[in-house]
């Protein structure tokens, strides 16, 4: 429990909705700037001893993620397609298309911790390449140079391991990493071997995981359960272990778990006055604030705005542009599996140790827009690995059993790439479906742009070449096809200078509501090439500085 507790009739300076990658940074920075901050988090507060190596629970029973049983979502592949509940990787249960961790620390608790910076091109790509018809492809209102100091701040204050300037494609940086890279794994060695033969430039992966004791947290013990799991030793640089306790240590911040915000209230002047939320017993409360910051993630931030409609804001709060919820982006992803002669034991240690950025930039000679990174990684935890059944892989019987026995000799070369912002890809409200609290549920509409699929196929083919050059005995790729689910939730309240085409300005202030700020994956204008959390946190550090400045000048 936080040492500082606010009363329900108190007016706090800031309410921050969400305690994840962005919410944690917001809370700490605003509290350190002298403001009172109440963080409302819908999930529970867990501690390292609560986390388990239980793949069945975490991957199939919504152990720490939003649960389709009480927080259902629907999916449709286009605005004219019927919306339905999804069954994806498990015929025994419904799945949600948009998945995030629902606990204090948010998705920074269960992320893989890939922490490369975006490159300069990610912020001004439309100016460089020109527009793309039928899309919302656009420049960001900020540049890489403006964000660089905050990337450095993330690396040093959140804690990132890596090797500066190891990649010839890296953008400029003002400081090296605070910790050396984590030990290379066999997948990294093999990818490096294959890629160097082909003239490519693999480099040690930047990871938000301690390679040595750092800022009061221990070094990684290489247990291997990072992706989709909470860290049992606090070596992963999750908000739960750094930003949240540091915010509380100011004595000005309360983190209130199991507090599900379902509505932002506004007054007759169009200002936010506070939020309505349910406590753990589903009792409704109203908490007043001078200003509200939504860092609820790229799925829940737009849903909250759309569910906060009123006579003054009939299309939903901060939505005079009609853009709230639109331009949802997932990041294209590919997986190329390879089996080698000897054991790799990829289930040990962090998921990724080598990355390639040779294909990062879009190249018009390829005939389509898009670029991305490749990495060497553990393919899946045992269950996920055994259940993936692409192509002509045997699915049962003695041959299937033989495939399972290749587990320790297997790895994945994964692709992470651009997704174009399309107005028709969106988070909206599902008419007639409510969650377990009676709040209108989320409807997800998504269909990949043909160029998103093209960059996926391109990276998949490069991955196969690299695995072949590395000496793999068997190589196969998962199908590159339109997606219906993601954990990268981007672009749904995009940032921009034009209030008729964007939701927030370059300082994360809602164009329509002076004391409402939005900062999380929803702020993205373009998708980057994957691994968005580093940039979400850099944006949050930058935004918090501006928001504190506005608050000091009474401009909220």
């Amino acid at each position: 429990m936080s040492p500082r507790q606010f009363k329900l009739n108190e007016t706090v300076d800031f309410i921050v909705v969400g305690s994840g990658a962005a919410g944690g940074v917001m809370a700490r920075e605003l509290a350190r700037s002298g403001f009172t901050v109440l963080v409302l988090e819908q999930g529970p507060r867990l501690y390292p001893a609560d986390f388990e190596h239980d793949e069945f629970k975490y991957s199939f029973l919504a152990g720490i993620t939003n649960d389709p049983k009480n927080s259902p979502q629907t999916f449709r592949a286009g605005p004219d397609a019927p919306a339905e509940r999804l069954i994806t990787n498990n015929p025994m249960a419904y799945a949600n298309p948009l998945v995030y961790a629902r606990l204090v620390g948010g998705s920074s608790t269960h992320f893989t911790a890939n922490y490369w910076r975006f490159h300069e091109i990610d912020f001004n790509e439309r100016s460089v390449l020109g527009g793309i018809a039928g899309t919302g492809f656009d420049d960001w209102p900020i540049s890489y140079a403006e964000l660089e100091p905050y990337y450095t701040k993330v690396e040093w204050e959140v804690g990132v391991s890596g090797l500066a300037e190891a990649s010839p494609f890296d953008p400029p940086r003002s400081k090296p990493y605070p910790m050396p890279p984590l030990p290379v794994k066999s997948s990294g060695v093999l990818m490096e071997r294959g890629a160097r033969k082909l003239g490519l430039h693999p480099f040690p992966a930047p990871m938000a995981i301690n390679s040595q004791a750092y800022r009061g947290r221990p070094a990684c013990v290489s247990c291997g359960f990072c992706i989709a799991f909470g860290c049992e030793v606090m070596a992963k640089s999750s908000s739960l272990f750094n930003m949240i306790p540091e915010a509380e240590a100011t004595g000005r911040c309360e983190v209130r778990p199991e507090s599900y915000v379902f509505r932002v209230e506004t007054n007759e002047r169009g200002r936010a006055t506070g939020v309505r939320y349910f406590d753990r017993d589903k009792r409704e409360h109203f908490q007043k604030a001078r200003a509200v910051v939504l860092s609820a993630n790229g799925a829940e931030t737009p849903r909250l705005l759309l569910n906060s409609e009123s006579a003054r804001f009939p299309q939903g709060l901060a939505n005079s542009s009609g853009v709230v919820g639109k331009y949802l982006m997932f990041n294209q992803q590919t997986a190329t599996h390879a089996v080698f002669e000897r054991e790799l034991n990829e289930y040990k240690s962090v998921q990724v140790t080598r990355v390639i950025h040779d294909f990062y930039d879009s190249d018009p000679r390829r005939g389509f827009y898009g670029g991305g990174g490749l990495d060497a990684r553990m393919g899946r935890q045992p269950l996920g690995w055994a259940l993936q059944s692409s192509g002509d892989l045997p699915k049962w019987g003695p041959e299937y059993k033989a495939r399972l026995e290749a587990f320790p000799r297997s790895m994945v070369c994964a692709g992470h790439a651009t997704s174009l912002p399309l107005e028709t890809n969106s988070v909206s409200i599902e008419p007639g479906l409510a969650d377990a609290w009676g709040i209108p549920a989320m409807r997800v509409t998504y269909n990949d742009h043909p160029d998103d699929l093209a960059i996926g196929r391109f990276l998949r083919d490069r991955a196969s070449e690299i695995m072949d050059a590395a000496g793999a005995q068997k190589i196969w790729s998962e199908e590159v096809a339109p997606r219906n689910n993601s954990v990268h939730l981007l672009g749904t309240c995009r940032m921009g200078k034009d209030p008729s085409r964007s939701v927030i300005d370059q300082f994360h202030r809602a164009h329509d509501v002076r004391n409402l700020f939005l900062c999380d994956g929803s702020s993205f204008v373009t998708s980057g090439r994957g691994q968005p959390t580093m940039t979400i946190q850099a944006l949050a550090f930058r935004a918090a500085e501006h928001i504190a400045r506005f608050a000091r000048r009474d401009e909220i």
Partner: protein
């Protein structure tokens, strides 16, 4: 106490000093109790009582699972006690879909009776008849569900009733430990270190 338990206990005790925090000490009794309970449950030898399946249903599901992951030199579905896992999840976390599963199983049994009227049940039929019928129905949603549950029951942690004695993890070569040190595999054993690039690549 299982190897898993012992590993976790050693890990927790060893990491206490590194963390210099109170959480290990304060949570230890609860963790130990939970794991000892799980270990006892996992080690209870069959036959256990079924919570959802009838014994006839369980026999057919068990026979299917034994073809999906056959026994042999290495453990299969039977050694992993998959049928107990399937029964337990249908009674608990997957109870929403349990009626659909039961309807699928009934249809499977009727289909098998039509295909092999002489056999008393799928479980009692010859292995050749079982296999031929499974090949005929392998594209059905019911087969997909049993396949999914068989794999889950083999590889999910043993507190869910399957993966008996870590049989599934032995099959795939996964070590359930909380601390590993480099080198992790064959290929990182002799890695000479990262060699920086000297020339700017062409973009």
């Amino acid at each position: 106490m299982t190897e898993t338990d012992d590993g976790r206990r050693r890990f927790l005790l060893a990491s206490g000093s590194a963390l210099a925090g109170a959480w290990v000490v304060s949570s230890w009794p609860a963790i130990a109790a939970a794991h000892e309970h799980a270990a006892r449950a996992a080690q209870t030898p069959g036959p256990q009582a079924f919570g959802f399946l009838t014994s006839a249903e369980a026999a057919d599901v068990d026979a299917m699972a034994a073809h999906i992951l056959p026994s042999g030199d290495t453990p299969g579905a039977r050694e992993a006690h998959v049928v107990y896992f399937i029964d337990r999840v249908l009674a608990t976390c997957f109870s929403d879909r349990a009626p659909v599963f039961r309807a699928g199983l009934a249809q499977f049994q009727v289909g098998f009776h039509l295909a092999c009227p002489a056999a008393r049940s799928f479980a009692a039929a010859s292995s050749a008849d079982q296999l031929a019928f499974l090949h005929a129905v392998e594209a059905t949603p019911f087969f997909a569900a049993v396949r999914q549950l068989t794999v889950m029951g083999t590889l999910a942690a043993s507190q869910y009733g399957g993966n008996f004695g870590g049989a599934g993890w032995k099959l795939i070569g996964f070590e359930d430990q909380h601390v590993f040190t480099a080198p992790f595999g064959h290929y990182d054993r002799d890695y000479a270190g990262f060699v920086p690039y000297t020339k700017e690549p062409k973009r």
